[in-house]
């Protein structure tokens, strides 16, 4: 079998001839960028084959590379088969990197009502006078310590098997752990001596891209440890649809294992940091989108992406954590957030819980932006929700120099409106390699203010300026000259990029407006806009309004809630009473299918304009743009 050696680092792996370099990388544990799921369409998995025999169709995929790059051996990892031993250089940008991941110290306070109790018991040994069995003796002990009635506690076989030995070896001094699950109380563990202080739970945000884990002390609610990492499923496809496709082709088991593995890795890291034993984690609460949670539970998601888009499960799910492959206490509980539909998953219910909008009388609008977006409008009495595809542009995808929020991404930018000279800030302050979502939103707003683009996003090539040029196919604006970048080429934004961004933002605004119309609400009646997700924390609120990504409201009414999913999961972990409330939220939501809503396309074309065709919806933006036009001397 050929050996593939990855440079730098000389990681080696062996696999059958004819396998792709991507498969080799996966086998070697290197997580590569595979935006398109390995179809040879995105060009993000570039590698340089330095030596060896391999097969790659340069004719077909040459368009992704410059002649110099081809000369240097550039290939797409997903389309290159290994025929003999090869040495492959993986450039930095092809590896999935540490991303800015939001870890919020939870701002919301809640009552501490966890579903886990530990009882330190001193039991009297049995005697001829007191011959009651071990289990009864233990459960009575729990009842006498203020726990649930003996008859109400279910003891699983695995725990019963350990009882006689632990009781006797410990001299009848043990700690019993009881967890409240939907079926009732469950004895999940018995340990020697007094371990009551070691009582923990884990809150998990199972995202398509990233996984965040919080370990909480369930006695005082404190945060013990936090960790995050990539969802390892990324090696099977970047977006959710390619995951489902992968699952369909017999990959469900692998995806399930990768999901569990990713969560385990994060839990282990957090536990190690906190210096605690994973076995003392008694409950794991997971919020994730419907497809992710289905996959974690090993439920086939294939039918959810076809009409009529029906998920297998909507209600919340519970099981023993070990059955999903999670490496925590053997009998620990696993709680999965409920969903509304296949598009409105537990992550959104968690957002709603975290925002508090379901408890308020005022009307709020909650927006969760990713490649797919979700919008919820409502208050404590009613809620409308919808979801749609915004395309990857706002996350840097399908934009020539777009990138994720990794080191070197321009995350903030402004233009001198006279000279068009940009001032930008990159993540980790390195030389720029590309532009991430927040930077793209800034850029769009600034190009509009500078009158470089018109409201449909066309670059005005009549302006004579070195940064405005005709480009290879469409006009473009130079954001950073070759010399100042970290990639050795000019970083530009093209007219097509601008249009892709406008189409993305239009879907989101149109979704907001469709819900508002459905409810008969004007933007003046929206008391709060909650921005969920990493994205919301870094974007400029003013610029988001300027380009019409969200309805215009005074900026002080906009609240980034950070990672609402993890916050919601934490709330539920600490306060079991919220679980019932979750179902109530899920029941309250009326899901609007945008594709079936005739006015949606109308709202969409109206929103494909900066900021919107109905300028009266954005009064302060209009005032500001008017000033900009006057300053530029455009009548």
């Amino acid at each position: 079998m050929p050996t593939v050696t990855f440079l730098p680092g000389f990681r080696k792996t062996e696999l059958p001839s004819g396998s792709t370099i991507l498969q080799a990388a996966q086998q070697a544990g290197i997580h590569m960028n595979v935006v398109c799921g390995g179809l040879g369409k995105c060009g993000k998995c570039t590698v340089y084959v330095k030596s060896g025999r391999y097969d790659f169709d340069r004719e077909k995929y040459g368009k992704f590379f410059t002649p110099e790059e081809l000369e240097a051996g550039a290939c797409l990892a997903c389309q290159t088969s290994v025929l003999g031993d090869v040495r492959v250089l993986i450039p930095e940008e092809s590896i999935v990197q540490e991303q800015k991941i939001l870890i919020d110290v939870m701002g919301t306070t809640t009552e501490l009502n966890p579903a886990v109790w530990k009882y330190a018991l001193r039991l009297s040994p049995p005697s001829l006078d007191d011959p009651s069995p071990d289990l009864t003796r233990l459960l009575w002990g729990i009842e006498k310590s203020g726990g649930p009635n003996e008859g109400d506690i279910y003891a699983p076989l695995e725990v019963i098997r350990r009882i006689p030995r632990v009781l006797r070896e410990s001299g009848w001094r043990v700690t019993a752990t009881v967890v409240l699950v939907p079926g009732g109380y469950r004895l999940v563990d018995i340990e020697r001596g007094d371990t009551t202080p070691a009582c923990y739970g884990a809150a998990v945000d199972l995202g398509t891209t990233t996984i965040v884990v919080f370990i909480r002390n369930l006695i005082d609610g404190s945060i013990m440890g936090v960790a995050s990492n990539y969802n390892r499923q990324i090696s099977c496809g970047e977006d959710i649809l390619s995951r489902v496709t992968f699952a369909r082709k017999g990959g469900l088991k692998k995806l399930q294992a990768l999901a569990a593995e990713s969560i385990n890795a994060a839990i282990t890291e957090a536990a190690n940091n906190a210096g605690i034993d994973r076995d003392h984690i008694y409950e794991v609460v997971v919020a994730g989108n419907t497809i992710m949670t289905h996959i974690l539970m090993g439920i086939d998601p294939a039918y959810m992406i076809e009409e009529p888009y029906v998920p297998v499960v909507r209600r919340y799910l519970t099981a023993a954590a070990s059955r999903a492959g999670l490496e925590v206490g053997e009998n620990s509980g696993l709680f999965i957030f409920p969903a509304v539909s296949d598009f409105i998953g537990g992550d959104i219910i968690a957002d709603i819980l975290a925002s508090g909008m379901a408890e308020q009388e005022d009307i709020s609008l909650l927006i969760d932006i990713g490649t797919n977006f979700e919008v919820v409008l409502g208050n404590r009495d009613w809620m409308f929700a919808c979801a749609g595809a915004a395309g990857p542009a706002l996350e840097g995808g399908e934009v020539l120099f777009g990138m994720r929020a990794n080191a070197g991404a321009i995350e903030q930018i402004s233009l001198d409106l006279e000279t068009f000279t940009p001032a930008y800030r990159t993540i980790q302050h390195t030389k720029p390699k590309g532009i991430c979502g927040s930077g793209l939103i800034d850029l769009l707003a600034e190009l509009l203010r500078a009158c470089i683009i018109d409201r449909t996003g066309r670059i005005n090539t009549a302006i004579e300026h070195e940064r405005i040029r005709s480009g290879r196919q469409v006009p473009e604006f130079v954001v950073a000259w070759k010399g100042e970048t970290g990639i050795g080429k000019d970083i530009v934004i093209t007219e097509n990029d601008v249009k892709a961004l406008i189409m993305s933002k239009a879907s989101i605004l149109a979704a907001c407006r469709t819900l508002m119309k459905q409810a008969g609400i004007t933007h003046a009646e929206i008391a709060r806009i909650y921005f969920s997700g990493a994205f919301g924390n870094y974007i400029s609120k003013e610029n988001a309004i300027t380009i019409g990504l969200i309805p215009e409201v005074p900026v002080e009414r906009i609240f980034p809630i950070g990672n609402g999913a993890i916050e919601g999961a934490n709330l539920v972990l600490l306060n079991r009473r919220k679980k019932r409330f979750l179902d109530e939220i899920a029941r309250k939501i009326a899901y609007i299918e945008l594709n079936a809503e005739p006015s949606f396309m109308d709202e969409y074309t109206g929103s494909c304009f900066l900021p919107h065709t109905d300028l009266s919806l954005f009064p302060t933006v209009e005032e500001m743009l008017e000033k900009c036009r006057l300053r530029r001397g455009v009548p």
Binding site: D454, R455, T456, R458, A462, D602, T605, G606, C608, F609, T613, L615, R629, V634, P635
Partner: protein
């Protein structure tokens, strides 16, 4: 009578005057004014605003023009000036609309001919003119400059600006004092967006006429009809960026299957029916200028508009 139409509109369609007489620095024998409506088309005693007008369409290269018209006209179609003179004299449309179809031939470069053609038409008729230029961005700037220059002072209505190519035509209109047709593909949002774009590069609203694009009867006409109704009601509700008069031309009317395959003896009748049954509805939906290609459509269309316009007793 107390029960009548409910006219609680707040907005008004702007007026646009096409053509310039000697007094205004042009050579037209009269000018026409469209727009000014404060209610739905033909509603009110008398109706508000100005009576809808009929433009007769012709071109400078008849090879792409509908066969029934060419058959009807014979040789006259080979000379646009003669064609215009004949149509204006015999059929009395309110305006002439000239399509410079010659510019749509591959490799067009006879820019000087544009100037000549426009000048000849101006001489052939005293009616206000609408001129349609190229539809190739590569040619636009030169073509529209030529049209603008040749018709300087005549307050022509020139077309067609679209969202992707509006700068050249607007520049010519502003430089030479003309008006612009702003065309968008059957969508109220796109129509409004284009008007905003034109306003923002300095073309005032009273120099824009909206062309919402009109599908032929049976080939999407209903979409155009509804978009026109929506544009008109938006204007009446006070949306200034849609408060321009509209022009409607179902340019495919005479090439649709029903007309193409009509029995030769019924060709003219079918042509007239297909134009009349699209253009009269267009006026009811709110179009201020409707366009036809078969000369015989002009008379019945005019009579119908007149009957819709005039309250009994000859009111207005």
């Amino acid at each position: 009578m107390t029960i009548s139409t409910l006219s609680d509109w707040t907005g008004e369609v702007g007026t646009v005057t096409i053509g310039a007489t000697k007094a205004d620095g042009g050579t037209r024998s009269g000018t026409v004014t469209i727009g000014g409506e404060r209610d739905l088309a033909f509603i009110g005693n008398p109706p508000t605003g100005n009576r809808p007008l009929i433009a007769y369409e012709l071109c400078d290269d008849p090879s792409l023009w509908p066969a029934p018209v060419i058959r009807f006209l014979g040789d006259r179609a080979s000379d646009p000036a003669e064609w215009a003179r004949f149509a204006a004299g015999e059929y009395r449309p309110d305006l002439i609309r000239l399509y410079l179809t010659s510019t749509r031939k591959r490799g067009f470069s006879a820019f000087a001919a544009i100037t000549t053609t426009v000048e000849n038409i101006l001489q052939a008729t005293g009616l206000p003119l609408i001129i349609e230029g190229s539809n190739d961005p590569e040619l636009d700037s030169e073509v529209f400059r030529r049209i603008g220059e040749a018709g300087e002072g005549e307050r022509l209505l020139i077309g067609t600006a679209e969202a992707g190519r509006y700068r050249s035509i607007a520049a010519s209109a502003m430089a030479f004092g003309h008006l612009v047709i702003a065309q968008s593909p059957i969508d109220i949002n796109l129509a409004k967006q284009l008007n905003i774009l034109l306003r923002e590069i300095g073309l005032p609203h009273d120099r824009i006429v909206i062309d919402p694009y009109t599908g032929a009867l049976g080939y999407g006409f209903e979409y155009s009809y509804s978009v026109m109704e929506r544009i008109r009601t938006a204007a009446l509700k006070g949306d200034d960026d849609l408060a321009m008069p509209m022009i409607s031309s179902a340019i495919d009317s005479l090439t649709v299957k029903e007309v193409r395959e009509a029995d030769p003896s019924a060709s003219d009748r079918t042509s007239v029916a297909w134009e009349l049954y699209a253009m009269l509805p267009a006026t009811v939906a709110g179009a201020s200028i409707v366009c036809v290609r078969h000369p015989s459509t002009i008379q019945p269309l005019k009579a119908a508009i007149e009957a819709l316009w005039s309250p009994p007793g000859g009111g207005a």
